[in-house]
């Protein structure tokens, strides 16, 4: 079965500390990988994505994620977080097989809480 796992439901960190939010998936077909961010009382915003090519992808606000096919992972990292990064982060996967329409399967989300 195809699934997405985010093991950490909450990650508290201090400002300027590094952070890693973990995401693993299970699939027998090729995948596209996404990280979405949801700020309190707001919708989903795409943070970054992996479709093909370089396995390391970056966002404009300093986050990066690396696709590791052998470990079926797409962990999100930031070397130094800010208070404004406090949000919930969702890993999402689009599984590609014949007739697939690209619907996303989401992980349960990780709440990142950055403390001063």
């Amino acid at each position: 079965a195809q699934s997405v796992t985010q093991l950490d439901s909450q990650v508290p960190v201090f400002e300027e500390a590094p952070v890693e939010l973990r995401c693993n998936y299970s699939s027998s077909v090729s995948v596209y990988l996404f990280w979405y961010v949801q700020y309190p009382n707001q919708g989903l915003q795409l943070l970054l994505k992996y479709l093909s090519g370089s396995t390391l992808v970056e966002s404009i606000n300093g986050f990066e994620a690396e696709f590791n096919k052998s470990q079926t992972s797409f962990h999100l990292r930031k070397p130094s977080v800010h208070i404004s990064d406090t949000a919930e982060y969702f890993c999402a996967v689009s599984f590609h097989y014949g007739g697939s329409q690209g619907n996303l399967i989401f992980g349960k989300g990780t709440k990142l809480s950055v403390k001063p």
């Binding site: 996404f34 919708g43 999402a92 989401f106």
Partner: protein, 116 residues
């Protein structure tokens, strides 16, 4: 930048009533999706729609649900007889070709449905 819009932002309805949630996808997109997020839980796929018909649907999308593209711009989700457990945030999304090199789904801000 083009965006997906949704109306209303908040809908309160009584159990057993019909509701219609509306979405205006990005104009040149051809694939449309509905997701829901029950409070405190992960985002769940409901249905995808392409070429005026349902492409894929999840187990959640039972006979109480229907989708329609009544004109060239709107994409609606109808819940025929709402239940308490239908209370959730409903997100509409749209995309270009799901297998394209720049694939991503653009999400609307969501409609919060409260069933009393």
């Amino acid at each position: 930048e083009p965006e997906v819009t949704q109306t209303p932002s908040h809908q309160v309805t009584q159990m057993g009533q019909e509701v219609i949630l509306r979405c205006v996808p990005i104009s040149n997109h051809l694939y449309f999706y509905w997701y829901r997020q029950i409070l405190g839980q992960k985002v769940e796929f409901l249905v995808s729609f392409y070429n005026n018909e349902i492409s894929e649907k999840s187990e959640i999308f039972d006979d109480q649900f229907s989708v329609e593209r009544p004109d060239g711009s709107n994409f609606t989700l109808k819940i025929r007889s709402t239940k308490l457990e239908d209370s959730a945030m409903y997100f509409c999304a749209s995309s270009e070709n799901p297998t394209g090199l720049n694939y991503e789904q653009y999400f609307g801000p969501g409609t919060r449905l409260t069933v009393t």
